[in-house]
């Protein structure tokens, strides 16, 4: 048969068609179809987690100062989930979303996996991996150099906490080295702590026995928005017998306000005036605890000092705050103020709290004093359901530090931040003043080397631009952060600490809690990367510096140090993970106060009255002079805190950001809350893009109409607008701190800015 083109085509086609049809009768196409489907069910890029034995390890969460107990589930020794520990006395099993997200910090893309030395310009992100030996030697060399030049005081260290052995170890290092500039980040407790100190003469973390209180009067404290120890607060609210009444006073309907018995909208910043107004009614109607006021308090009535000078008492001050006047200041109806005062005074265990939101900004001393006066008026001091100053646990005892002459000279220098100075005698740390001091210094920066651990000042300090400018003037910055945060990314060296789940640490619990509990954070997993315990880094540097400094650290490593510190309690601690010291409240009414008068001082004599109105130390109300011209900036911008947004040293894990509503963040732009009536005046609609301007900065925002905010006020959340970390967090929304600057409280020097004036223009 001759095969020509045509028959080739014909037979070829027939062959192909026949072949195709025939192959359908073979298993091949069916097997292939099945195999392809099976392949889609086992795509190699979809992970198959390794199975194995399930175990649990108890530890303590240190992502925030809350110090909640955690229970980590492991599979073959691999941590796979964090749940709340039911055995921990603070949180009793409750945990916030950040605590549950913990493993994302451990394994996440923001980890610094080895010591790094800066290669490019600061903040450029160019790093060189170096060995620990090289990194520690370089830092020690720089520190030795500054000491040799007789300037040990030009070294500062910023930490997140000043309680527990790690901060103490660092403090010890600085003392032996010769620098007084150990600076702890600020929080709202600082102002309350100082108010308590001024009134009671006792230094200690404020303890609020909310567990036993039956009436909570909260001046904007975000009790359910991450205030204090979040696990404890949630547990208290939901699982224990909650207070009969929770009154939440703030300009915005927060999650706490939503859960409160009553939400009272107040003009922002006027909380102190309201407290005095309530005091006015209580005094006027003689609803106060007569026994306490008459027998255990000082300065309620007018008094005369040793020099014969007459002073007004608290009652006279309160008299100036009649409900009509307070109503005008606060925007709260007069009748509401009166009934609030009566309800508060008549409750069996009332407690008044202040400190806005999470409590990241201290606020004014006047306000804290006014609120503490309310607690005193109802005699709610040092008793169940009341307020007390919690002294630090005294387990930490070390041999005295012997220091050399250079160190001695350095230690005699005033602190760079002015804390403890004549101007601010009762304040211990004033980080908020640091940028301004560095920026206004003539010549070179008074801080030549800065070490930062468990803190992220480049993000958390108000006025980000000024902070960055100040940091740029510091020639040598070392970060010990396990994560690539804003401060770490601007450092010269990063000496990464172990992440919190890899390190040993004692954790004193907690701000606001009226129990003395110390937890032990135990490593639940061996360090994943080339990191080093920050305690070990400091011990290593001390040894490298030699002499007296080396002698101050006779321990091989941090564990030896901790073991010796805890002494006979170590074994129990290690076994149980928690040391609980029930704080022994004095017998009711056996009030002990360490003030000059020996009483609770309504008139705080230890307060520097020179800076106050009419030279009176009495709590009063002076509006905080928030920045911005009223004509140019017609709106008032306030921050708000959310439990789903971490705004402190630790930033959001991807899981937390995933929970953030689209009314808070949309794509990369943050939403600004505004009352519909105000928005209408500005012709703004839901979802509009607008430019938000304050005297400190500018941001692009989207508009979110929210009935739960007072007209004329606009609010945006803290915790967004990161520039570092990973793409799961960076460049999302605006950092509130870029839009606001600090305002110094005249008494404490602490930041008391609650907001800033602002304007909105359509983009």
């Amino acid at each position: 048969m001759k095969i020509d083109r045509r028959s080739f085509l014909t037979y070829g086609t027939a062959l192909v068609l026949g072949g195709a049809a025939g192959s359908m009768l073979t298993p091949a196409p069916w097997k292939l179809t099945d195999d392809v489907a099976i392949w889609t069910q086992n795509w190699p890029w979809t992970p198959v987690p390794e199975d194995g034995e399930i175990t649990y390890k108890q530890s303590v969460c240190t992502l925030c100062p809350g110090g909640c107990g955690i229970n980590v589930r492991l599979v073959n020794g691999r941590p796979i989930k964090i749940e709340g520990s039911k055995d921990h006395p603070a949180n009793k099993g409750s945990l916030c979303p950040m605590g549950i997200s913990g493993l994302q910090y451990l394994y996440g893309p923001s980890r610094v996996t080895s010591p790094l030395k800066r290669e490019g310009k600061r903040g450029e992100g160019k790093w060189k991996k170096v060995s620990w030996e090289e990194a520690l030697t370089a830092v020690a060399k720089k520190l030795a150099e500054l000491r040799e030049n007789g300037r040990p005081q030009s070294v500062a260290c910023i930490t997140g906490s000043d309680r527990g052995t790690i901060p103490n170890l660092i403090g010890r290092f600085l003392t032996a080295y010769g620098s007084p500039n150990y600076i702890r980040s600020a929080n709202a407790q600082d102002a309350i702590e100082q108010a308590i100190y001024l009134a009671q003469g006792k230094q200690g973390t404020p303890g609020f026995d909310i567990e036993k209180a039956d009436f909570i009067l909260s001046f904007g404290s975000g009790l359910l928005d991450g205030w204090g120890s979040p696990g404890r607060m949630f547990n208290l609210y939901g699982n224990q017998k909650p207070a009969k009444k929770i009154i939440q006073i703030e300009p915005r309907l927060s999650d706490t306000a939503a859960k409160a018995t009553q939400w009272i909208g107040i003009n922002p910043g006027t909380e102190g005036a309201l407290a005095l107004g309530i005091a006015h009614v209580i005094i006027k109607e003689s609803l106060y605890d007569r026994n306490f006021v008459e027998n255990y308090a000082f300065g309620f009535d007018d008094w005369t000092d040793d020099n014969g000078k007459a002073h007004d008492g608290f009652a006279k001050m309160a008299k100036k705050f009649a409900p009509e006047k307070v109503s005008r200041i606060t925007g709260i109806p007069k009748a509401e103020i009166v009934s609030l005062a009566r309800a508060f005074a008549r409750a069996s265990k009332p407690i008044a709290l202040n400190g806005r939101g999470h409590g990241s900004v201290p606020g004014s001393i006047d306000e804290s004093l006014a609120v503490q006066s309310l607690n005193a008026l109802v005699g709610n001091i040092n008793k169940p359901g009341g307020i007390s100053a919690m002294p630090d646990s005294n387990y930490a005892k070390w041999p005295e530090v012997n220091i050399d002459e250079i160190a001695s000279k350095g230690m005699q220098q005033p602190r760079i931040d002015g804390a403890g100075s004549e101007q601010f005698p009762n304040t211990r740390f004033l980080l908020n003043r640091l940028p301004e001091i560095i920026n206004s210094a003539q010549g070179e920066s008074p801080i030549q080397a800065l070490m930062v651990t468990d803190a992220n000042p480049l993000y958390t300090l108000p006025d980000t631009a000024a902070t960055k400018k100040a940091f740029d003037r510091i020639p040598f910055i070392v970060s010990f952060s396990p994560y690539m945060d804003e401060t770490a990314s601007h450092a010269d060296y990063i000496l990464p600490n172990h992440s919190y789940l890899e390190r040993l640490q004692d954790v004193p619990t907690s701000t606001g809690i009226s129990l003395q509990v110390t937890g032990l954070a135990k490593p639940v997993v061996k360090p994943l990367y080339d990191t080093k315990h920050v305690g070990d880094s400091f011990i290593h540097m001390a040894k490298a510096l030699g002499g007296f400094i080396e002698n101050a650290f006779p321990w091989d490593d941090y564990e030896a140090f901790l073991k010796e510190t805890l002494n006979d309690q170590w074994r129990k601690f290690k076994r149980k993970g928690v040391i609980e010291i029930e704080h022994n409240l004095p017998e009711p009414l056996a009030y002990t106060f360490n003030t000059v008068s020996g009483k609770f001082e309504f008139y705080p004599t230890a307060r520097n009255s020179a800076t106050q109105k009419e030279n009176s130390a009495l709590p009063s109300y002076t509006p905080v002079p928030i920045e911005g011209d009223v004509q140019r900036f017609k709106l008032v911008l306030i921050p708000y805190d959310s439990i789903r947004l971490a705004s402190g040293y630790m930033a959001n894990a991807p899981f937390m950001t995933k929970t953030v509503d689209d009314t808070v963040l949309k794509n990369q732009i943050g939403l600004l809350e505004i009352n519909p009536a105000t928005a209408k005046e500005l012709s703004l609609k839901e979802g509009d893009t607008a430019i938000l301007t304050t005297p400190k900065g500018k941001a692009t925002v989207k508009i979110h109409l929210y009935e739960g905010i007072m007209p004329g006020i606009i609010a945006m959340p803290r915790g967004l607008g990161h520039t570092a970390y990973s793409e799961y967090l960076a460049d999302k929304g605006t950092n509130f701190n870029e839009l606001i600057g600090p305002i110094e409280d005249p008494t404490s020097g602490l930041d008391m800015a609650w907001g800033i004036r602002a304007k909105l223009t359509r983009a």
Binding site: W43, P49, E83, Q104, G108, G238, L253, D661, A677, E707
Partner: protein, 270 residues
């Protein structure tokens, strides 16, 4: 009806969520993500392509300042019993490939990821938006794959997933009980991750048929309601709220209708 007789002692696992206790903290969501290997993307702000097995909605009473009220509403899969409570939930009956099924032993609506071929008919059927589609391949950056739980398979792109009432926890608890020669599970032996994660104890989980379980009593509270009951989906997730406007927001009502009366009518009918 045959199914009913075969499962005389069948469980009806369900949930009662006390909205008065829910603070909207999001712990349930995060607890669920980490329990169930839920993936995450760099941008999760489009809530319509964000995988959440339990999603917390924020609703308001719509009144202007200062009378505004807010309520958080966590929504897992409602595990509907369906019209007539026969297990024909809106989604199960429509899945063309039996990739989602009603388990008559527990009342839990399952989802088989390897069976699902991603037609999304179940999503169209579900009025609660409980079902989520894997629009992307899941990616766990850095070393995050290491925290994945072996008890729940990570899902591939192109399939639907949803809350399973942590069915793997039921399996583990049941295996343990069998091993210990027990027939019945104790109430606390099988709890969902969200119920455990809720720091205020707003979520109660248990067998709705079991009089000794807390949910049994709670669901009969006068403040209890279910979402969209009038659609006859018969959800096994109940809610509690002492606020009238919240209870009303749980379903659709004509202006003159009174929720309590409608609820009575709906329940009598079924």
């Amino acid at each position: 009806m045959k199914e009913k007789n075969n499962h005389k002692h069948a469980k009806r696992y369900g949930m009662v969520i006390d909205l008065d206790k829910c603070t909207g903290c999001g712990s349930c969501m995060v607890g669920c993500y980490s329990e169930n290997n839920v993936p995450f993307k760099t941008d999760e702000t489009n809530k319509l392509d964000s995988i959440n097995w339990i999603q917390v909605y924020k609703i308001t009473n719509g009144k202007p300042f200062p009378n505004t009220e807010v309520c958080y509403l966590p929504m897992p899969c409602m595990q509907c019993d369906g019209v007539g409570k026969h297990g024909h939930s809106p989604c199960v009956s429509v899945c063309p490939a039996v990739a989602t099924d009603y388990d008559y032993e527990t009342g839990i609506v399952s989802q088989i990821y390897t069976r699902c071929f991603g037609c999304r008919y179940c999503m169209a059927a579900c009025p609660y938006h409980a079902r989520k589609f894997n629009w992307w391949d899941p990616v766990w950056p850095a070393d995050m794959e290491k925290y994945l739980s072996p008890n729940v398979s990570p899902r591939m792109r192109g399939v639907v997933e949803k809350c399973s009432f942590c069915f793997h926890r039921y399996q583990l608890a049941r295996d343990k009980a069998y091993y210990e020669k027990r027939e019945e599970l104790k109430e606390n032996e099988y709890q969902t991750a969200c119920a455990e994660a809720c720091p205020t104890g707003a979520i109660t989980f248990g067998d709705l048929n079991n009089k000794s379980h807390a949910v049994y009593k709670l669901k009969n509270s006068p403040n209890a309601f279910r979402l969209l009951e009038r659609l006859k989906t018969n959800p096994k997730v109940y809610y509690l709220s002492n606020k009238r406007w919240v209870r009303r927001a749980g379903d659709n009502y004509l202006a003159h209708e009174e929720p309590a009366k409608i609820k009575q009518k709906v329940n009598q009918h079924h």
